[in-house]
Amino acid sequence: MINLFLGLSPILALGLGGMLLMLAEAFGSPAGAEGRTHTGEVVDAGAGRGTELGLIAAVILFAGAVFSASLWLVGPESLPEVSKVAPYLIIDRFTVFFAFSLCFGGGLVALLAAAYLPEHKIDRGEFFPLLIFSTLGAIALAAAGDLLSLFVALETMSLGVYAMIGLRRTNPRSAEAALKYFLLGSFAAAFMLFAGALLYGVTGHTDLAGIGAAIGELKGAALDERAGMILVATMLMLVGLAFKISAVPFHMWAPDAYEGAPTPTTGYMAGIVKSAGFAVLLRVLFVAFGDTRIMSWGSGWPPVLAALAVITMFAANAMAGRQESVKRMLAYSSIAHAGYALVGVVAASRGAEAMGAVLFYLFGYAVSTIGAFGALLWAGRRGLEAVSYEDLAGLGRRHPAVALALSFFFVSLAGVPPTVGFFGKFTVFQAAIDVELYGLAVVGLINSVIGAYYYLKALVYMYMREPRTGAPIAQPMESGLVIAALAIAAVVVLGAGLCPDQLLSVVSQAKLN
């Protein structure tokens, strides 16, 4: 039994921690009950404890990461009892890797939010339980080996995110972003559910491995009868998954939702939700649709994903270059990054080694992008946020540390050595070349060059432009929490870039067999 608890420790830690946090929120001292801050401004009831709750949430999430790391060291395969929760939750190294990276990213977001929410007078205790339970859903999603738990986990994660976007109640943008994401997300989830029902109908199984095996056994007349159903299921499932990872043309919600959401939530969506989306995409496609006839190089989902990857990279980079808002640019860049990762997924359909590259890419991307959003929110205080490129003009001279943080994470996202972003791209394109996907690798390379343009544009504004006279300029907020979060992220980004070997060996163990 203890082995089972150990195997589930990241999930249990988040669940229990989330409960405790809600208790703390409910029965803690009502600091903001009077509805006035020290500056005398009237604020929401229940406000004022955001920082403490955020710190507790960060501790819980980092504890989840520590549990995941120790679980990795123990080795989930040495815990036979975890098979009791299979196939609903499959505790393998793939899961543990994602559990770590999701908890770690969630912890960073909690630190950022703990500073951001009080600064922007949306000091709401609800954010942090939502964050924790949503992360729990994300981990369960990465672990899910059965359609049942997969959908429940998916909804747990998504509902938390919808609420975290709509948290800024007095702001029409926030509501609009939440609405768009919610409507389209539910629509896409309905597609996935329909696909799941069809798969159940074809195979009689809801667990992914069973579905995969049953499809593999289909032959002759039975296959002829059910091929249509499998194709529809594949199509709808692909659409649902592509929606979650915001691949073009299923991406339209992403820029709006990213822009309207409070910045920590944006970082969460770009880093955590996308990682979890890729986790479930990998597991579903490789386990349930792993039959050579669907995972074929000539037909089935790999060519579809290859086409999506190409469109995604080009469209997202073209759009990102035209943005005036840095936040929205980052939103498009996160779409483009989904394209790069998809290149790795397609490569993995030809050789399992490439899946390690995808995991490496996702980890590096998640930390870099959370860092980038964190640096962006660091650059602005209430009423003086850094939104457009213009706001960043001359930041390098006025606030070198902030500008350094922003440029550092931008550089990592652009894929410049010695950051983890470079090695992410390097390993993914290398993997594509290894399986002779030269075209995809070349398209990826071209796009990373195009992509470098808009990151550099931000750097140019920060270091080589001066703000126009009278133009509003961003005023960085002062918060140790943000600095701590960014320092942790920077250490990881630089560390994984300087010694990628350790991480590479980890991801090569973490890939699905």
Partner: protein
């Protein structure tokens, strides 16, 4: 000591990590938070980090000494992490995989260097804390300085060429930043640019060397290179570059034959010359030296640390580090020694006529660097390296002393150029005795006054130049062309020439350094006259020709800074002179001077072969053990008579130089110099213009580059920018603009696009795809096709050349087809795939098996006997394309 040994085992000597990380940490903290931390905290952070690194270096050194009792090479390793594994593509690399580690190591050579870097570095930090105290960019300065120390330590302690290269670039970056630290004027910007470009040429050499080493040796770390260096003993065809010389047919026959005759050089020569190109760039040897004098625009402590004591010696360090490789090519060594000797002489002549004290010191640095290369070039690595050490002491002392003088002169003169002009100085001995005494000590060392450090180091280099020779391996044979290269032998007269140049340089050095000291410290202070309303009580020009010009400029310069001048105290004892007097510097500046001055005098005892006290030499011996096997050097015991003879020669060199200077500038008050300048105006101008090297570059290379650049600009403007960049940018922009129209913000539009994507995916999945992988082997005529599998796919093939589908019209499960074609046979291949919805897709191709003719022979694999006729390879060596292609053609 045991505790330390246990704590830091030789194989995992993590102390190095500590030594490295401290300056980096300080640089980071100072750079990012320095503005907020305040001056004291920045000083404390910068100084303590460097001092801690110094203590670490001392401990390391003591541990090295403790290990090194048996005369064998002691090296401590610290393997931080595995950086990358260079995978060879095909047979391109000598070894399949070259690991690139972030690894550091320390032995006698790098340990000594680390000691000097941190020790001298600390003194200069201390000095800067006072010198730069008033600067608004104080924190930035310290951050750069700390970063420089870090980079330099990486350079020295790196265990492989790539790591060294990281440090190499790092010090270059810091130097670049510090040159441009104060000024944003054109002159300094162009100085920075010049440094950048010339160093780039050198870096190119280093990169080429790395590539060649990976190719031939298959290793980049010191140990690997030393072990595999014998692989460098193979001839490489260097001419003609391609198969033949293109214009040879147009020339007369005999000339054509001479031109197109293949020439070979050993791989070792190529590697060494490439490495030396890198060393030349960083150590400013003749040809790539133009940046160093201009780099003196930076703050004086920077000149002392970077452009005299440490960074510029990196080239010598590289030579010593890879001494085992260099001695394999006597030809390359001859080039090294020749360029070194020439640089020494060349720079010394320029230094004769400079008036800016920092310029004098800059050219003397060039000259001394030439000495070092001379020493290393003749195989006396130990002597060359010892000169690095002593030079670090006395040149740092000289520069810091010069800084102190300039600091003092700023009491009166606020113009940068004038405050450094020795014509405005003189008689400073009585105002700043500490500076004068220490400066004199360093002067004694550089001039080669007997028993000072410079005397011993220079003496040994000169002696070795006369006696030592690089013999190298006897012959170089093998390689892919069965060429035997005769070993290059140094001509008899070469050693004599090197010796003569060295000796002449020594005389000149003594002369111009004496001139400098006399000009600064002796005689009357000539800076009074530039204070307004000051009347010269003696009314007598002090230094002839130079006096008149510039007076107005000085006055003007002072006008601007008049109010500044009044802040300085006035000395009561000299009432008849107006204006503030120069004053001695604070202790933070004089303490380093005393220490360095002392070292300049006595550090020679570390390696005084002349009097048979050479602890450093014995300590370094194992490092150069491999290299010294290929060097013919005089035996110390047998030739001790000659040692004394050579020592006398140095003394003789120093004495007339000093004497002549004394006579010219003190006894005759500079008149002979002025006369000489008047008598040989062209020579004087030639020397003042630094041999017109810059002008030469301008006239030749830069003009060529300019016209090339014009062409490139045209190409860039119309082709690259106009067609490629703008067109592609336009396409991207337009695509963005179109896509934006869909991003209307309406949920309905978004879901419509989503449906569009869904239909696209669905259509692709439903339609069957007749994708075929082709394996064509034209040589054997076997053709294999395999069709992509798909859900519910059925196939029918037509590959047999007959009408109709193979095996009837029914679709089957056959996914592969193999068939054979005769030469020149043409066949239509068809495949039809039926999908689950009975939709079909078709693949059709007309296949022709080509005739195996001569033109395609080059790409077809060669048969064994052809291969043997073409090239014989020694095992383990990859074939080079340049060699094999023409031979293969010839046999067919």
């Amino acid at each position: 000591m045991e505790l330390l040994t246990q704590l830091f085992p030789a194989s995992h000597f993590s102390l190095l990590g500590l030594i490295l990380i401290l300056p980096l940490l300080a640089a980071f903290v100072n750079g990012v938070f320095g503005k907020r931390l305040g001056r004291e905290a920045v000083t404390l952070m910068g100084l303590s980090a460097i001092f801690a690194a110094f203590v670490g270096a001392v401990i390391t050194y003591l541990m090295l000494l403790g290990h090194g009792e048996h005369g064998e090479l002691v090296r401590f390793h610290f393997n931080a992490w595995r950086w990358l594994q260079l995978e060879g593509v095909g047979d391109a690399l000598a070894f399949r995989a070259v690991p690139l580690d972030v690894a550091f190591s320390v032995d006698a050579l790098s340990g000594t260097m680390a000691l000097v870097i941190t020790g001298v570095g600390f003194l200069i930090h201390l000095y800067s804390s006072s010198y730069m105290a008033e600067d608004p960019g104080y924190y930035r300065f310290f951050a750069y300085l700390n970063l420089f120390i870090f980079s330099m330590l990486v350079l020295v302690l790196g265990n492989s060429l790539p790591i060294l290269f990281v440090g190499w670039e790092g010090v270059g970056l810091c130097s670049y930043l510090l040159i441009g630290f104060w000024f944003s004027e054109d002159q300094n910007a162009s100085a920075g640019k010049k440094a950048f470009i010339t160093n780039r040429v050198g870096d190119f050499g280093l990169l080429v060397a790395m590539g060649l080493l990976v190719y031939y040796v298959g290793a980049l770390d010191w140990h690997g290179i030393e072990v595999g260096r014998n692989n460098l003993l193979q001839p490489v065809k260097v001419w003609p570059v391609a198969d033949s010389v293109p214009i040879a047919q147009l020339l007369p026959e005999s000339l054509a034959e001479a031109i197109s005759k293949p020439r070979y050089a050993s791989a070792a020569t190529l590697v060494c010359l490439a490495l030396f190109l890198g060393a030349m760039g960083k150590s400013a040897q003749f040809g790539l030296h133009v940046w160093l004098p201009d780099a003196m625009a930076g703050p004086t402590p920077v000149s002392a640390l970077i452009h005299a004591a440490t960074m510029v010696t990196a080239g010598v360090y590289l030579l010593c580090r890879l001494s085992a490789v260099f001695v394999m090519s006597p030809m390359a060594m001859a080039v090294v020694a020749g360029i070194g000797a020439f640089t020494a002489l060349f720079a010394a002549t320029i230094a004769l006529v400079q008036n800016d004290i920092k310029k004098v010191l800059a050219y003397s640095t060039l000259s001394q660097l030439g000495y070092m290369f001379l020493g290393a070039g003749v195989g006396a690595f130990e002597a060359g390296f010892f000169h690095v050490l002593t030079h670090a002491f006395f040149k740092a002392c000289l520069f810091l002393g010069a800084g102190s003088v300039i600091h003092a002169m700023h009491a009166r003169i606020h113009d940068t150029n004038d405050s450094q002009d020795m014509r405005n100085m003189g008689g400073l001995l009585k105002f700043m005795p500490a500076t004068a005494i220490t400066f004199a000590a360093a002067w004694a060392a550089i001039a080669g006054v007997p028993l000072t450090s410079g005397f011993f180091s220079k003496d040994e280099i000169l002696l070795m130049a006369l006696k030592s020779k690089v013999t190298g391996p006897a012959t170089i044979s093998g390689g892919q062309h069965r060429v035997v290269l005769e070993n290059f032998v140094w001509p008899e007269w070469y050693s004599g020439l090197l010796y003569a140049m060295g000796l002449l340089t020594a005389i000149l050095t003594a002369f111009y350094m004496s001139r400098l000291v006399i000009g600064i410290f002796l005689g009357e202070f000539r800076g009074w006259k530039i204070v307004p309303n000051w009347v010269d009580p003696h009314a007598q020009p002090a230094s002839g020709a130079h006096d008149d010009h510039g007076h107005d400029a000085h006055a003007a310069a002072h006008d601007e800074h008049d109010d500044h001048a009044h802040h300085h105290h006035e000395k009561p004892g000299v009432e008849h002179m107006e204006g503030p007097t120069p004053h001695e510097s604070p202790w933070q500046m004089t303490l380093p001077l005393w220490i360095l001055g002392g070292l300049s005098l006595f550090a020679g005892l570390l390696n005084a072969h002349l009097i048979h006290i050479a602890p450093l030499g014995h300590f370094l011996e194992p490092v150069f053990a491999e290299a010294s096997k290929s060097v013919e050097a005089p035996e110390e015991s047998v030739e001790s008579f000659k040692w004394i003879g050579a020592a006398i020669a140095v003394f003789i060199a120093a004495a007339p130089g000093i004497g002549l200077a004394w006579y010219t500038y003190v006894v005759k008050a500079g008149r002979p110099a002025a006369e000489a300048a008047a008598k040989f105006p062209r020579l004087h101008a030639f020397l003042s213009d630094k041999w017109r090297v810059d002008e030469f570059y301008k006239a030749t290379i830069l003009d060529i580059v300019d016209s090339l650049a014009d062409m490139c600009v045209w190409f860039d403007k119309w082709i690259v920018d106009g067609i490629l960049a703008r067109a592609s940018a336009f396409v991207i922009q337009a695509a963005g603009a179109i896509l934006r129209q869909f991003q209307t913000g309406r949920v309905q539009a978004y879901s419509a696009v989503l449906m569009f994507g869904l239909l696209g995916v669905g259509t692709y999945l439903v339609l069957p795809h007749a994708n075929v992988r082709e394996h064509f082997d034209h040589a054997s005529g076997v053709y294999k096709l395999s069709a992509a599998p798909g859900l519910g796919y059925k196939y029918r093939w037509d590959v047999d050349g007959q009408e109709g589908w193979d095996g009837g019209d029914k679709f089957g499960n056959r996914t592969e087809a193999t068939f054979q074609l005769k030469v020149d046979e043409e066949r239509v291949i068809r495949l039809e795939v039926e999908g689950p919805l009975l939709i079909t897709s078709r693949y059709e191709k007309i296949l022709v098996r080509p005739r195996p003719d001569a033109s395609s022979a080059a790409v077809t694999p060669q048969k064994p006997e052809e291969k043997s006729a073409a090239v014989q390879l020694p095992p383990g060596h990859p074939p080079t394309r340049a060699g094999s292609a023409p031979d293969a053609k010839g046999t067919l």
